[in-house]
Symmetry: C3
């Protein structure tokens, strides 16, 4: 009888290096639950940006596995994260995806909490009832460069400090906190969250799969020199030239641009680098020109390529001179995943005047839809018991890194 799956520890141990994971990693509800426990409930997860909750009382609610978390700005202007579960009989407290509140009032029996989580009022309680014991439960939260990360664990990974210190100088010039959200799109992809992330971590599929993206994205991304096919050598030549120009422009302005790549062997795996774009070299648009006339922060020229950052397990980011796009990946089920894409422009930019919404969002909207289709096909394929994990090419080394990071987290978790 073959319908059970091997013990996850066995599956982890027998993974063949340089190869795709076995099917159950993408299809088994047990491993999905394990992923939530070992990854999404233990690591730092990117969930929102500061401009999404600009004012005190502003909040977003985030579903993370079976958790619901309120991310909000408290009355003192501090970013907080609270479990969205009433301490009385467990009702959800905030029901909307986003909004603004004075206090947090549970609609069932009107228990009332402050924006910092303290219980302010609970009706008909005996004198010995101690309100101090019944505040909303706190979730660890950190911000860096305007990005908000939460961690559901009671002892969050401590290496976030180090990561924050090293990425902050890259991110700061774009002054994300002083942007506004121009657009946000939620796409439910029909595949496991790891297939979504793996898809993001290579561009082996870009040349044939993403016509809009490859107007500006060099399709040799991740390729070793010796693997670049002849037809892509002109693009590679442009890439080298654009890289030299970009480095000069950055150095003149004191903008850090060197690659840091620590995708494995640490809890908060990450990669950051400022990289050139093709075409006009300014932004992810069809022609590579800036999508927004108002530049971010103190940046004085649009042609600064893309500051690209990856964080394990669930996010990637593109900071350009004119706009910032953030992507967060949240698992819904073994075979369903939410991809939230958010476009930010200067707080004072005026739609229709400084930027056009379709122009701003076209490339990544189309690219996400194309990737969603790849993910769905792969989910269907790896569900077959006949699936045999194949080898990664060298251009897929970051996929291998993601998978390796993931297995390290499982091992840590199972080892305890």
């Amino acid at each position: 009888p073959a319908h059970g799956i091997p013990d996850p520890a066995v599956l982890v141990a027998r993974r063949r290096p340089g190869h795709v994971l076995e099917g159950p990693f993408y299809t088994s509800p047990e491993i999905f639950a394990l992923d939530i426990d070992a990854v999404y409930a233990k690591q730092w997860i990117f969930v929102a940006t500061e401009p999404e909750i600009a004012e005190p009382g502003d909040y977003v609610t985030i579903d993370l596995g079976r958790y619901s978390v309120i991310v909000l700005r408290d009355d003192d202007g501090q970013v907080r994260a609270l479990h969205n579960v009433c301490r009385h009989r467990g009702s959800r407290v905030l029901l909307e995806e986003r909004g603004s509140v004075g206090n947090l009032v549970c609609g069932y029996h009107q228990w009332t909490y402050a924006t910092d989580g303290r219980l302010l009022h609970a009706g008909e309680q005996p004198p010995e009832f101690d309100k101090a014991c019944f505040g909303l439960r706190q979730v660890a939260v950190r911000t860096v460069g305007g990005l908000i990360f939460i961690c559901l664990a009671t002892s969050p990974p401590e290496d976030f400090d180090d990561v924050a210190d090293r990425i902050e100088p890259y991110l700061a010039p774009h002054d994300l906190a002083n942007t506004k959200v121009a657009a946000q799109v939620d796409l439910v992809e029909h595949g496991n969250w790891k297939l979504v992330m793996e898809n993001n971590r290579e561009c082996y599929h870009c040349e044939a799969g993403h016509p809009e993206l490859t107007c500006t994205f060099f399709p040799t991304y991740g390729f070793a020199l010796e693997d670049i096919p002849a037809r892509l050598m002109p693009a590679h030549a442009r890439y080298l030239k654009a890289g030299v120009d970009l480095a000069r422009a950055c150095d003149e302005r004191g903008l850090p641009h060197a690659e840091i790549e620590e995708l494995t062997d640490r809890s908060t795996g990450f990669r950051i680098q400022r990289e050139p774009l093709d075409g006009a070299g300014e932004s992810y648009t069809r022609d590579g020109k800036a999508a927004c006339r108002k530049l971010l922060g103190d940046l004085d020229i649009p042609r600064l390529g893309r500051l690209s950052m990856h964080t394990q397990p669930n996010a990637w980011f593109h900071f350009q001179a004119d706009h910032v796009v953030t992507f967060s990946v949240l698992p819904l089920a073994a075979d369903r995943t939410l991809v939230r894409t958010t476009w930010h422009v200067h707080r004072d930019a005026v739609e229709g005047e400084d930027y056009d919404l379709d122009h701003l969002t076209e490339v990544w909207s189309r690219t996400n839809e194309q990737d969603g289709e790849f993910v769905a096909r792969t989910q269907a394929g790896v569900s077959s018991p006949a699936f045999v994990p194949g080898p990664y090419s060298s251009s897929e080394y970051q996929v291998d890194a993601l998978v390796t990071w993931y297995l390290q987290r499982l091992q840590e978790h199972l080892g305890r």
Copy 2:
């Protein structure tokens, strides 16, 4: 690895008295199956009223977990319950929710059963085939005061006799058997059946949550005197005054009204009491006036408050002088529950003349919808692994009683 749930016996044993149950009781498919086995398939369950099957051959089909039961009046006028499963190859016999039949004919191969369940005819059988062995399987059924209870167990709890003896004098004056169904509404609530029942067993949420209901329902229901907030003292004063009037009116007519409350420590837990209504004090309407001009049975005045009855695990009832509302709660899945509400008026009452349907049903239709929303929010909240069961206030003592009764049943079941 934390995605399994503890053994149910462990969960039962570690329940903290006076506190809400832990999350898995509301979300786990295993505990849902256990609830069906230990509660819905073992206890007396209210499923219908006699007026729903007024004539011989009239039936309703009831889904109870994975069981389907036919409740019908047989040719001798007796109320019966039969498993809705053909004894040949197992087809459902009756496919509709309600109707009227001469015999019960299985549509697959035409096996034909009498209304008392006996197999009358089965085609192409060998001579040794004994029809007496293949009648539809009987389900235990009891009626009291026109209410129909079934029990799927082969040895139903015996204490029903005692309960029937004690509640019959309260119910009889309303002569439910001589009413007709004026309206029936099925509402699927998105929560566990226990959340639906717990919601019903307290009115801590009524003041803020049920504007229509609290026109006549005193919002201090269940409150200890010392817990009544100042703003509700006027309502409480009206309640005391109305209670005195009601007791006098009942005593003059020989109507029992005293509270009997045996919600725990027995299989057929129940509570019954005749209680006053606010406003005109006659019925659950916006102004408290009767919704139907024809009074029930021999009742001679409309101002007789509400005869309120709760039965564990799945029902509550309001008998007024002019109409009777019954509520039955049937689990569909760990997170989905059917609430069936039925309004009965005098058999001879004429719609549009003696009663208006909207007027009759408004208060409880709205109240049910509001409660459905509370239940859905609570289901969402207690699904979070971060949920910590909170304490009941004194006004929620009947919720605590329901939960205690439930845990007693689980203990009995697991002990065997």
Copy 3:
């Protein structure tokens, strides 16, 4: 606690001969998975016909449990079956239900396979990459009389040769390979695949259940003489007369017609027989007259009844002089099953001239829908824990044979 099911081996062992299977065989997801492993992934399964993939490059994709299989005609004209899973990262290769291709190109990273499964091209691979190791995985495939069977096992049952040898002379005269598909209908029935098959294996339900079918199908099918009720004796008399006529017509033409019935005790259980039809005796139409004017192969008269074949576990066939109908049953879930019905007429027949589509498909379309309803009711019924397996009548002996064959396969599988 009673919500687990007994060990499948226990259920197999305690099955009462001559009786329906116990409920879990139809409802348990565990047994559904076992059915896929022990039956659908081990036995020869009928999936398509040669005319469906008439030309090189033509393909159909078949979902079998969690497997997806490409059945195609390769460049050499040979019928092949390949797992529809890319050897790189597992994407489905072909996404449509049917179509025609030159090569098989995976849309994700463009790995390209020949129609025989060989990997022709994989971009950006290192020199040591051996394409010969990464062809699409082959699935065993056999054709007989134009019917295509696949087997997912690495060692398919060997008795197919014997079956093919014996049925080929019956099938060959209808020359299925030179037909075309006139119509194909997929019906999703809401029941377990075994209920679908059991329904097909008896006609105890036909007289009352299939008014269109019984215009030509003798409703005494499967009945022992002594079980035929008086009202069916006229039909039986017609059956005997038509049988004599049919035998003569066949003998004159050298068409084999005798019954072979080996439904159990072998892997590839089957039954074949040429049998008379009522009415005009030519075809499954309302009046029994041929539905298509062009006869198949070299057949010279339309009145040749029906060549009926059953193969375990998932198919039945009706070959008439004018058209062939094939039925394949593919499980989707414990309670959902796909029934694919395909009508074939002479390759040169012209719609609207030689045949009318409604006339051709009416009888079996209606019959399938009626059977789907029986299956759904039975699925609902046997899901009740109160279901007790009843006895088969003698006219249901082929149902008993199917069940017996099935239990033999489970025993073989569990014994290993």
